[in-house]
């Protein structure tokens, strides 16, 4: 075998394998995306649109997790120093690098919607309370927007839907929206047992007692004759009794 033949043979092998492996790689990539992100693959337009982001993600390669963790630590340090803009930018980057880590979205939204917002509410540099509230609301909205994105990035886990529900409840007082989020969380496999009651609580808090009662009744019915004690059927029954009693005194079912 001459040198030229050897080179041609090696080149042919590599090229032939390159052509052969292509459909395999495409299929594996699609299947991996389908299993992890929920869609089979981006279109040409989507690729172009996401190229910047994709390049960042790909370039970091095997050390993406490490970079994201470093950003989370940076955010933690900035949080201790109450530098909220730095906290936000580090968290945004960390979630961009590892969008499939539910914990990051959770921590990021907590920092923005709770810590930064409360700090804004108490900021003494602004005399006007209205201004402080507007500032705080901006941080809450930033946290909500992050969680909305998080639920799209990790749609199979209950955690972020639960947190979004908590945010609507505790930070925005939008109890109907909270009930919708808790309902969405209940469709996931890893939901904690206590959360099933939160839909009813949220509906009650929203003033829709009839809907809350109907929900608790349906929940009790699904528990069956011998319910799992972890689901606390006695609490559900207590809520049913309370709501029935309250509906008797206010029959239209709406909070006055």
């Amino acid at each position: 075998m001459s040198r030229v033949v050897a080179l041609a043979l090696a080149g042919g092998l590599i090229l032939g394998w390159g052509i052969g492996k292509l459909p395999w790689e495409i299929r594996m990539t699609k299947e991996q995306r389908l299993a992890t992100v929920g869609f089979p693959g981006p279109t040409a337009v989507a690729v172009r649109e996401k190229l910047g982001q994709g390049l960042v993600l790909a370039a970091l390669g095997g050390f993406r997790g490490l970079a994201a963790n470093a950003l989370m630590l940076q955010a933690h340090g900035a949080w201790e120093e109450k530098q909220w803009v730095r906290v936000r930018s580090a968290l945004e980057l960390a979630t961009l690098l590892q969008p499939r880590v539910a914990l990051f979205w959770d921590l990021a939204s907590w920092h923005l919607a709770w810590n930064a917002a409360v700090a804004a509410e108490r900021y003494e540099g602004l005399e006007s309370e209205t201004r402080r509230r507007i500032e705080a609301r901006k941080w809450v909205e930033a946290g909500r927007e992050l969680l909305e994105r998080g639920t799209r990035a990790v749609p199979e886990k209950a955690l972020l839907f639960q947190r979004l529900g908590d945010l609507y409840w505790q930070r925005l007082s939008d109890y109907q929206a909270a009930a919708v989020c808790y309902r969405a969380a209940l469709t996931k496999g890893d939901v904690p047992p206590y959360l099933e009651r939160f839909v009813g609580y949220a509906l009650d808090k929203a003033g829709d007692k009839k809907a809350a009662l109907a929900y608790f009744q349906e929940l009790r019915r699904t528990m069956g004759e011998n319910p799992d004690p972890a689901r606390q059927p006695e609490v559900v029954e207590r809520e049913m009794q309370r709501l029935t009693k309250e509906l008797r005194t206010s029959p239209n079912g709406k909070r006055p």
Binding site: A44, G61, G65, N69, L103
Partner: protein, 281 residues
């Protein structure tokens, strides 16, 4: 066939022993072990976050050390043997050149496997150490203990470990391939590292090439096609990130990536053997 295997094994054993005697690998191993032990000191977060940090740092340490071992080891393989002229003594025996190449690769892989096993064992011990620490801190409530143990004893970590090993074995294959072409160790290290980095962009280049149609200039298309055809897709191994994030990754997907790695290594070694067959020494 049996004779051939015996000769390959002899080369592999020799390569392994030669590599073990080099101080650089011992230093790398110590460096990795210190990093792995140090990974335990993220204590200001929830236990899920602490485990996430620990696993990420653990995998990154093992991966980086493995990459360096693969690069330095392969660089020492053929170019250094040619430089020292020791290759002539080896090849004047009844040893075919392809057996020499395969033996060198297997020796390197054995070194890497031993180092991965040591680092894996230390990583496992650190995870258990963290588990004991957290159970002590968080209290002995059954639910919490169960959640902590689920993080530290997650069987999916084996999947991640297998994927990481496969990725490093492909990198070794690339390094062996370049070492049959090269005359200097710097060339082998630089080329392998370059392909390793481009490999993480391969899927982007491939999709851009296949979906760009006639809009892109011909030279851009040619470049994208070359990357798509000639470079391995290292993004396929990013399933490791999914596992560390606590997401479910089916074994079927893992096994398919492992099969892809085996096929890639086989092709690289075959091409390396062809190139080495006619090389002037």
């Amino acid at each position: 066939m049996r004779e051939s295997w015996r000769r390959i094994r002899a080369v592999a054993e020799n390569t392994f022993l030669e590599a073990v005697r080099q101080k650089v690998f011992a230093v790398l191993l110590v460096f990795a072990l210190v990093l792995l032990g140090g990974a335990n000191y993220f204590a200001e977060f929830s236990f899920q976050e602490q485990f996430k940090f620990l696993k990420d740092l653990g995998y990154a340490t093992i991966s980086l050390t493995g990459l360096l071992v693969g690069l330095l080891g392969a660089a020492q393989l053929i170019p250094a043997e040619i430089e020292r002229r020791t290759i002539l003594t080896a090849l004047c025996r009844p040893l075919r050149r392809w057996e020499f190449v395969v033996g060198k690769y297997l020796g390197l892989v054995a070194l890497l496997a031993v180092m991965l096993a040591i680092m894996g064992a230390v990583f496992w011990a650190v995870l258990r150490w963290k588990e004991a620490q957290l159970i002590g801190l968080e209290g002995g409530e059954a639910g919490v203990v169960q959640a902590i143990q689920a993080e530290s004893r997650d069987p999916r970590l084996w999947q991640a470990f297998a994927l990481m090993g496969a990725k490093l074995f492909v990198v070794c294959g690339l390094a062996v391939f370049f070492s049959t072409l090269a005359t200097s160790t710097t060339f082998v290290v630089a080329m392998t590292l370059l392909v390793y980095l481009i490999g993480h962009l391969q899927s982007v280049a491939r999709e851009q090439w296949l979906e760009s149609g006639e809009k892109a200039a011909w030279f851009i298309q040619l470049f994208l096609a070359a990357v798509a055809l000639l470079v391995p897709d290292f993004n396929l191994y990013s399933l490791i990130d999914e596992i560390v994030a606590g997401n479910v990754v089916p074994w079927r997907a893992t096994l398919e990536v492992l099969a892809y790695s085996v096929a890639y290594v086989a092709v690289l070694l075959a091409a390396a053997a062809c190139l080495f067959e006619e090389r002037d020494l």
